[in-house]
Amino acid sequence: MSSQIEKLLDTEYKLGFVTDIESDQAPLGLNEEIIRFISEKKKDPQWMLDWRLKAYKMWLKMDEPSWAHLTHQKIDYQNISYYSAPKQNIKSLDEVDPKILATYEKLGIPLEEQKLLVGIAVDAVFDSVSVKTTFHEKLKELGIIFCSISDAIKDYPDLVKKYLASVVPMGDNYFACLNAAVFTDGTFAYIPKGVRCPMELSTYFRINALNTGQFERTLIIAEEDSYVSYNEGCSAPMRDESQLHAAVVELITLKNAEIKYSTIQNWYPGDINAKGGIYNFVTKRGKCLGDNSKISWTQVETGSAITWKYPSCLLIGDNSHGEFYSVAITSLAQQADTGSKMTHIGKNTSSTIISKGISALKGSNTYRGLVKIRPSALNSRNFTQCDSLLIGNQCSAHTYPYIDVQNTTAKLEHEATTSKLSDEELFYARSRGLSEEQAISLIVNGFCKEVLNKLPMEFAVEARALLSLTLEGSVG
């Protein structure tokens, strides 16, 4: 049976295709010249160039972290091109290369129809440059800023200067520091005081050019009494070369504000022999700065050869709340080391961590979490649940939950389970008429239900489809 499942699982990456458009690409390697090149391409102001150069010098003195439960080929940082952009400078949809539009259509997000799709504003990133931002004007009426971070640097320098690296300091970690030096684009969103963003903001990332690192930088600020839900979805074309991705996402909520950040990550996972696939080293952190504020991370991680990612919350405001809901699937030879860090600083702060790890074929899945209760965080609470599901005999699941409590008034709960998808479960579902794939999909969806329920509706539909797709042959 397991061999049948393996055959199913080892299916071709469904979103694997490459669009052939001319890229404006930096030569391989990283040095001060390259950073100046990127900065010039981005038309950075001087302060941004200085900031990048400072980060670069800091990065040179840092070492790649080795504590994660991951093994991969050594990354040759001098064999990566740090900038790639579609050549034209596009102002309207009519000017967009038809091939790019075709790519989006394959991904199910035709830009042409997006104009009609009220409800979702899409800031589409093709390689590293924002091709098109839609619904910009409608959002503007409410005072919401939703644009590429490059535009924000030029148009809203005061906001950017105030908040950039205020959550993830420049030298926070090796990959975040690299990102600070070379980030090429990303999303900026600012929700003014008292505004509830009426639509889901959304970005679709797509890595496309050969040997190109993807260094996104996202900054979202929710002013007092505001609310925003942001969806990040990713997929990448089929590639043999390993591609490095090091993104940084920073969220800030002020008093009574809420940010809901949802991710579907479906980058090329490489093959069963660990050939190819994206190396994904991401730093995501939110700062609940104001009292009663809330940040919620929901992620569905199905792609990438290597995932290193710990969406975290700094709970500074009193009564602030942090959430982390995660489904991570590792099939083929994928490895994920993912989890969350909840740092309780304010009084009566609370956090919830629900992590569902699924390993299939030769996949390795690690949950790594830290719940830290500082002395000031009186009456704090945390609930953590991490469940692992194993499919087959070659995969593995690992759990490293750290708890550090520095006062006596905190209440913490931790639950963890590890189970194996059994032949008996599969047989039970199949004896009722479900096909093997459907049975697997049903069981896995059931396992992830608590997390999937947290996703915005249309995103949840996509996530379920993706789970089934990833697990075609992911139960063994």
Partner: protein
């Protein structure tokens, strides 16, 4: 409708069924009895196409070679097995599970998906018929069900899926009299001249409600004695040792 000749079944590297013959005709009820560990459950699993079993010999249902079909395809043909220990599937709502299964069967049979209001009406009727608390429809399948609820849920699934071959593995174990009656009523309600029932049981009680046409005693991987209902009565009175003397 079911034709088994010289069938052997290996499960967990052990030959449990060895040279078994069995013919079941449409409209018949067969009871399979035997000591613990004689292979009754394995026989049903082999017919339903469990991953655990490796089968040799002839196994035909409705003139189709079942050995060429996987468990899903056998279900499409109309084979159903209720489990002695129904499996819990966390997070999968019972109603959703049933509807998915029905639609999958319909799709494979070239039929349109079930119409929701009709499905719900059918479900509600069957639930009332079996005396099941309707809460279980919202709960994950078999998770936290009592022993009786699990058995009744198996019958509910069978009533909804309307199979042609109903195989019930110790459906009577752990049931109180009232529950046993409703389970038996459920079986009797859906069986007809075109369908057959195979009951695996240790006790006569169920057989008094679902009258068997044939009773078989399984031992050493074979059917060593067959008879009518009186054989089951004999067994209950005298025990296996005396009956098989």
């Amino acid at each position: 409708m079911l034709s088994i000749k010289n069938m052997s079944v290996v499960i967990a590297d052990k030959k449990v069924i060895d040279g078994l013959d069995l013919e079941v005709k449409a409209g018949e009820v067969h009871a399979i009895m035997g000591l613990n560990g004689c292979g009754k459950s394995t026989l049903l699993k082999a017919i339903a196409g469990s991953y655990e079993t490796s089968v040799k010999g002839k196994l035909e249902f409705l003139n189709q070679d079942m050995l060429e079909l996987d468990s899903s395809a056998r279900a499409v043909l109309g084979v159903f097995m209720s489990f002695q220990n129904p499996v819990e599937i966390p997070g999968v709502n019972t109603t959703y599970f049933l509807k998915s299964a029905i639609n999958e069967l319909r799709l494979a049979r070239g039929q349109e998906p079930v119409i929701s209001p009709e499905f719900m009406k059918d479900l509600k009727e069957n639930i009332e018929f079996l005396g099941i608390n309707k809460d279980i429809l919202k709960r994950a399948i078999n998770v936290g069900f009592s022993g009786g609820e699990k058995k009744k849920s198996e019958i509910l699934q069978m009533m909804m899926l309307k199979p042609k071959l109903m195989m019930l593995d110790e459906i009577d174990s752990g049931l109180d009299i009232d529950a046993l009656k409703s389970v038996a009523n459920g079986i009797n309600k859906i069986r007809d001249k075109d369908s057959a029932v195979i009951l695996v049981t240790h006790y006569n009680r169920l057989l008094e409600y679902v009258k068997p046409d044939k009773v078989h005693i399984l031992q050493d991987g074979k059917i060593i004695k067959s008879g009518d209902f009186s054989l089951a009565k004999d067994l209950e009175d005298k025990g296996y040792e005396d009956v098989l003397k």
